[in-house]
């Protein structure tokens, strides 16, 4: 237990010492929000089916997907593979530390970071753009937790599949960038040509955006059931695969 707490604390500190990771995870979505919020404002827009939803109201749940995607596809694979390449994980392995403790500590820290990112978005959105949330906070939180865990588990699968840290980085970016632009996390799917909108349905991150927006707008089961089911499936596959594939060296 002390090991878990210490590991979490150290990983949190180490994360804060990496300015690039810190910037992309926490600051970048915030900058996007400020930039597009300044351009489009947050008045109810016709693009949102005539509902009283502004650009910022729709962007914040999408940016939650952006935060989750950044951590899962960039931070987790690169950091994990780098620690494996350098022999840091190997050194951990020679102690009584359990693999599961290491994973739980890491995932908990990434989860808290993601939560921090979400909190920043919400606070700034409220203060600057009068952000509105029509759903229930517990439901939004539950959807966020499901999305984050499903994606983080996949991130560890990616880390294990990649032979080296360099490969993890390439692989992560290869998945991350198309996913950000085509899933609705970076920009609304409605802005994409119809062909790409179809393609977007193949990207897991689309379902995070759908789920988060559905919960945010207070939509019913009809809207959220499908994305939630997809993410539950991803979570199950991710947990099984990451546990089976995880390696210390």
């Amino acid at each position: 237990m002390r090991g878990l707490k210490n590991l979490m604390w150290v990983q949190f500190i180490l994360y804060l010492r990496e300015p690039a990771a810190f910037f992309f995870t926490l600051a970048f979505p915030l900058l996007c929000l400020l930039l597009f919020g300044a351009i489009y404002g947050n008045e109810p827009a016709p693009a949102f089916w005539g509902r009283p939803i502004g650009t910022v109201d729709a962007s914040v749940p999408a940016y939650i997907g952006l935060i989750i995607g950044t951590i899962a596809l960039m931070n987790i694979p690169i950091e994990t593979a780098a620690n494996r390449d350098s022999g840091a994980l190997r050194r951990f392995r020679a102690t009584p530390l359990r693999p599961i403790t290491y994973l739980v500590a890491s995932i908990a820290v990434y989860f808290l970071l993601a939560l921090l990112g979400v909190a920043l978005l919400v606070v700034v959105g409220k203060l600057v753009f009068n952000l509105k949330m029509a759903g229930s906070w517990p439901a939004v939180l539950a959807g966020f937790a499901l999305s984050a865990l499903a994606f983080f588990a996949s991130g560890y699968v990616l880390a294990s599949v990649a032979r080296t840290a360099r490969m993890a980085q390439t692989l992560g970016m290869l998945i991350f960038f198309p996913m950000i632009f085509l899933s609705g996390a970076g920009m609304p799917v409605q802005m994409l040509p119809p062909g790409l909108q179809e393609f977007s349905k193949l990207l897991p991150l689309s379902y995070v955006v759908k789920l988060m927006q559905g919960l945010w707008f207070g939509d019913g089961l009809a809207v959220i059931a499908m994305p939630a089911a997809v993410l539950c499936g991803l979570l199950a596959v991710g947990v099984v695969l990451s546990a089976r594939l995880f390696r210390w060296e």
Binding site: R2, L7, L14, A88, R90, T95, R98
Partner: protein, 340 residues
Amino acid sequence: MHDEPVVVADGLRKRYGDLAAVDGISFQVERGEIFGMVGPNGAGKTTTVECVEGLRRPDEGRVVVLGLDPWRDARALRERMGVQLQTASLPQRIKVGEALDLFASFYRQAADGNALLERLGLGDTRSAYVSQLSGGQRQRLFVALALINQPEVVFLDELTTGLDPQGRHAIWDLVREMRAEGATVVLTTHFMDEAERLCDRVAIVDHGRIIALDAPATLVRRLGAEARVVFEVDGVLADTSPAPAPSRLSPARAGQLNLASLGVLDGVLRVERAGERVVVYGQGDGLVSAVVHALETDGVRYWNLRTEQPNLEDVFLALTGHSDAAALGTAVTVAGPVVH
């Protein structure tokens, strides 16, 4: 319980493709012993030790450490053993003190991290980033991590590689202190002098096998190798021009070297000379003083006198037939003749 060996390795084998990295290694380490595995890089020392630590699974063979199976009882064993790996590192951007506290938190009981850092000369690096440490400081930090749980048995793999002479001596002292405090130490090194000075027993490993295992002094003695006394004399007086045998036996003029009088000294096996350089081969502790005494008595002027004792490196070379320096890696430059 105390009579039980701390480490039992029995018939270990580990193959990587076509290469038999460990090819049937068996040994035991007794409690309170400093046990060394020496041999060239690639001999199979690290693979053997990592099989014993439970970090690699041997293809064949049995390992028992502190009465535990390193695979089945991994966590119980890791609680009680300390490990310094040849290839290991720490997370990026971590500080020395943080690393030590972190590792301490993995164990049920831990040593005083600050005291450990002080003892290893790292007291003022506590708030430094690990990445800023010098090679020697890093090495010592990893030794500190190996000791943080006050282990009963410590495995140190290539513990002084990359250290300067001072650093090596500091680590040697620490290893001896650990033993004095009751720990058992298993180390690997490719420095023959290190093994000879530090270890109670050494296993000489070559091509995945143990080719000799005993106390260093016993191995050296068993080799029956000659000690050498080497010195230089004035070239004019010590003329090597052919002379009839009887004249050689005749008493030398004062100040002139008489090879024959050296040859009959106790323990001297033979005498060779090449120009100004004279080499007296022999055995026994009194060799040097006998030679020096003879030279002084004859009034011979000599200089650069030194002795070359047979050492573990001679044993290794004799056993392996690796006469080329490359086979020993850097060992040759460090483990040169022991000059008294």
